[in-house]
């Protein structure tokens, strides 16, 4: 394609974006837009799948049948979310198995929050309340993302995610209103998860290399720091409501701005975990790799069965 043609196509593309016209799979798009989406959506898909692991840890130890059924339903939802997102990646021409293999080789990232261990039952509550809460804060604006298949996947995900957050808050609230030991368990869990939850919004705006372009393309609608502030503003009163203390001595409501001021995030820890040195990075990727390798026979058996059935149907007709 001639160079001025590409320039013209890029101009028309940006004009569509500026006019809030969605981009659909077969439409022309700049290579960098396609690559950005493949990277972001596949990371998002990996996060949903890896996110099942810390919760899977507690299925057999859920305190009663109701909690167990709920936890199983939530984990099944996460698998579904991963699938919607892998399907969205495929519409961009990416190979699904390659993107999954990139996770297994360590080339692709996923949300760092899942590199922290789930040590107590209170963590199941904290993951739903804080981790899914932060995810919702991120995902609601993505429902208006400029790429149609990603936006549509997000609409489904957000609808399902709100049950996740509420069931998590219910667990935490129940513990916080329980015996002193139960309340202590909830507080200890909040102490561990609060800061990693804030890190879920990514590096601060000054250090975020993708934000500016992604905002121009309307893949992102808010910066990392804006979303983080929104999360703090809605979550702090929820903690106060059930008598838990957010572990931040600098946290204070600012009457002037109408927002909470909060302390500095430990960015060294953030980058350490991103780079693979968190408490559970190796365990998580090993578990995913093992699932693929040891589950491969099922895929092969399903193929063999499908072939056999097709042959039999042919004979019968």
């Amino acid at each position: 394609m001639k160079e001025q043609n590409i320039e013209e196509l890029e101009r028309q593309f940006q004009e569509k974006i500026d006019n809030e016209i969605k981009i659909e799979p077969k439409d022309w798009m700049p290579d960098a837009y396609r690559e950005t989406l493949i990277r972001q959506i596949s990371q998002h898909a990996h996060s949903e799948i890896v996110g099942q692991l810390p919760e899977g840890n507690w299925v057999t130890r859920a305190p009663n049948l109701r909690r167990k059924a709920v936890l199983l339903a939530k984990i099944q939802d996460e698998a579904g979310h991963g699938l919607y997102l892998y399907s969205a990646v495929e519409t961009l021409g990416a190979d699904r198995e390659e993107t999954i293999d990139d996770l297994h080789s360590g080339k692709a990232k996923y949300s760092s929050i899942f590199n922290y261990p789930s040590l107590t039952w209170a963590d199941m509550g904290m993951i739903g309340w804080l981790v899914d809460g932060a995810a919702i804060m991120n995902q609601v604006p993505l429902c208006r993302c400029s790429y149609g298949p990603y936006a549509r996947a997000m609409v489904r995900v957000c609808k399902e995610e709100s049950f996740h957050q509420r069931q998590g808050y219910e667990i935490v609230a129940k513990l916080a209103n329980g015996t002193p030991e139960q309340k202590e368990m909830a507080q200890e869990s909040l102490n561990r998860w609060w800061w990693p939850a804030l890190m879920m919004f990514g590096p601060s705006d000054a250090d975020s290399k993708h934000t500016e372009q992604s905002m121009k393309w309307k893949i992102k609608r808010h910066t990392n720091d804006e979303l983080r502030q929104m999360f703090v503003d809605v979550t702090v009163p929820q903690a106060e409501h059930i008598g838990l203390k957010v572990p931040d001595n600098d946290l204070k409501f600012n009457e002037e701005t109408g927002h909470y001021d909060f302390g500095e995030i430990n960015w060294d820890e953030f980058w350490q975990v991103v780079k693979g040195y968190g408490p559970c990075n190796k365990e998580r990727v090993d578990a995913r790799r093992k699932a693929k390798e040891e589950g491969m026979w099922i895929r092969e058996a399903a193929n063999a069965y499908a072939e056999k059935r097709a042959k039999r149907n042919k004979k019968a007709s």
Partner: protein, 95 residues
């Protein structure tokens, strides 16, 4: 034994009797029956459907978006196909 990947399927769901099937998304499955079962698990976990269609994605023929202009142009110039094109005298009812 074959190493081939499961093919991609497009999933269409009828949300209730009286409505048409609508595209819900896609998934991978070894054959049509498995695609229906997977679609049930993935797209109707909250009673979103009463009927499922699955179609192998590569069986779908789509119009070319870069040709959308000329393809749909003929209808753009025919405003007389819409009821608002016509003048009806003031006071005439039920029309």
């Amino acid at each position: 034994m074959s190493k081939k990947e499961w093919p991609l399927w497009e999933v269409f769901i009828r949300s209730k009797q009286g409505l048409s099937h609508k595209h819900a998304g896609s998934l991978r499955a070894a054959d049509a029956e498995m695609a229906i079962n997977n679609a049930r698990d993935v797209y109707t976990r909250r009673s979103e459907g009463v009927s499922i269609w699955v179609v192998e994605s590569d069986k779908v023929t789509a119009s070319d978006p870069s040709e959308a202009g000329p393809l749909f142009e003929p209808s753009n110039s025919k405003a007389y196909r819409h009821p608002t094109f016509y003048e009806v005298p003031e006071g005439v009812k039920h029309m």
